[in-house]
């Protein structure tokens, strides 16, 4: 076989491979691990659907509304405190001022954060977290990940969440049962808050996995740019 024929043969194989790749559904550039993530999504549907979601639904249905609001406010106040640190890490001093004002007002005059006076007073929430700080510092978003029970995240956001979980104020509580109780109620509160958005997403989506992925990435982008994201380039 001559060298020219070998080259021609290889080109043919390459062209065939390119054609086959063109036939398959193009991979999502944010989600290179899609098959693995979809498997996690399925696992999550079982675990969450049978255990976590029913508990969150029962919490919403049977706990008095003022208690739910107080719980949401308490963890909102903890979040605002974490937000202050991230505001400073990102150099956003006006946001730091707002969030610090919120924490002082709600902790001091709102029964340790159970009442959200600051929102009534019109002080906006900064909503910063360490994942966003990493983004502002220039770390790339990294692949999208769907983690069972935890939900949608990215390598960057997941790293931020882990750092906050270990460094956050609740982690410093020396009393282990109290700390774990707070972790538990915090998780329950977070899951309960997501119920209504989840119901809308499930009713809207042709493919809930893809819908949640796009919504998560869009929302995080919106937060990263402080509510004013530049227009997105048309992705294929």
């Amino acid at each position: 076989m001559s060298a020219a024929r070998v080259v021609a043969g290889r080109l043919g194989v390459l062209a065939l491979a390119a054609m086959l790749a063109g036939c398959a559904v193009a991979p999502n550039r944010d989600d290179p691990f899609e098959p693995m993530n979809r498997a996690s999504f399925k696992v999550n549907e079982v675990v969450d659907g049978h255990f976590v979601r029913p508990i969150a639904q029962a919490y919403v249905a049977y706990t008095p509304k003022p208690v739910q609001t107080a719980v949401a406010n308490f963890f909102g106040n903890v979040r605002d405190f974490v937000s202050v640190i991230n505001d400073f890490l990102q150099g956003k001093l006006d946001k730091a001022g707002n969030d610090m004002g919120r924490v002082i007002l709600n902790t001091g005059f709102g029964l340790g954060g159970l009442i959200d006076i600051a929102t009534e007073a019109g002080i906006p929430k900064g909503n910063e977290d360490f994942g966003l700080t990493l983004g502002v510092w220039g770390f790339p978003q990294g692949p999208y990940l769907f983690v069972p029970v935890w939900g949608p995240t990215t390598v960057r956001d997941g790293t931020g969440s882990l750092v906050e979980l270990y460094m956050g104020p609740v982690g410093y509580i020396p009393d282990v049962p109290l700390r774990n109780t707070l972790y538990g109620i915090g998780a329950l509160n977070a899951r309960a808050q997501a119920l209504s958005a989840e119901a809308v997403a499930l009713s809207a989506a042709l493919d809930p996995y893809a819908f949640i992925r796009r919504a998560y990435l869009q929302h995080r982008r919106y937060l990263l740019y402080d509510g004013k994201p530049p227009p997105e380039k048309d992705s294929p």
């Binding site: 193009a26 406010n73 929430k125 909503n127 209504s196 119901a199 819908f211 929302h219 048309d234 992705s235």
Partner: protein, 222 residues
């Protein structure tokens, strides 16, 4: 869909078209007496959003059947009071992205109709959860002659972070119409792009239409 979209009407002179529109509105008035008549073509986009959302939310609070959780009634209210202010064809085009250009006019019509059904259903589900929220209308920042604006609102609810809801609106022959709703940075329309693309790659435009029909029919049967 609205009058100006009917192709046959483009051949009719403007004066006659206005008469025809008046006649149409007269029939509509007799039929269900909605406040659509007040939707003058020169109403400012932010004023339009404020008026329409205000009317719909007031109706939801006062309507006994909606308060009792009657989904059909909520859907009816959305169909008569909200959908006239949306450009579903443009929304579908945005959601389908490049795939839209492959579609025949007939496919476009069917696709837009199915997408509209899906959005109305989703929106009625979301409105069903509407409780004690208050809506703040943020000032409109645009030039006087602009034909494409973003109306920004903020929904506040006790115990939760405020949610920003923006309406992308375009000036059409029959007044301002919304072609996207962006909730907390999540566009209701482009959020469908991945799913629509995947369906088009799998089964073409007809595949996408079938998937939407299955979704709409499947949930309606529940």
């Amino acid at each position: 869909m609205s009058l100006h979209r009917l192709p046959a009407l483009r051949l009719v002179p403007a004066g006659a078209r206005r008469l025809l529109a008046l006649a149409f509105i007269g029939v509509a008035l007799v039929a269900f007496a909605p406040p659509i008549v007040r939707a003058a073509a020169d109403e400012a986009p932010d004023a339009l959003v404020k008026r329409v959302t205000g009317e719909v939310l007031a109706l939801i609070k006062s309507d006994a059947r909606i308060q009792a959780g009657d989904q059909a009634r909520i859907r009816e209210v959305i169909e008569t009071r909200l959908t006239p202010y949306f450009d579903f064809e443009r929304m579908t085009a945005l959601a389908a992205g490049r795939g839209w250009r492959q579609a025949t006019p007939e496919q476009k019509k069917v696709l837009a109709g199915q997408f509209k059904t899906l959005l109305v259903r989703t929106y009625s589900g979301a409105l069903n959860q509407y409780r004690d929220q208050t809506i703040k209308y943020l000032p409109l920042r645009s030039d006087a002659g602009a034909t494409d604006v973003t109306v920004r609102t903020q929904v506040e609810q006790p115990g939760q972070a405020p949610v920003q809801i923006d309406y992308s609106m375009e000036k059409t022959a029959s007044g301002w119409k919304a072609y996207d709703v962006v909730v907390g940075g999540v566009s209701l329309v482009t959020n469908y792009r991945d799913e629509f693309n995947a369906e088009i790659q799998r089964g073409g435009i007809d595949g996408l239409i079938k998937a939407l029909e299955a979704k709409n029919g499947g949930a309606g049967a529940k």
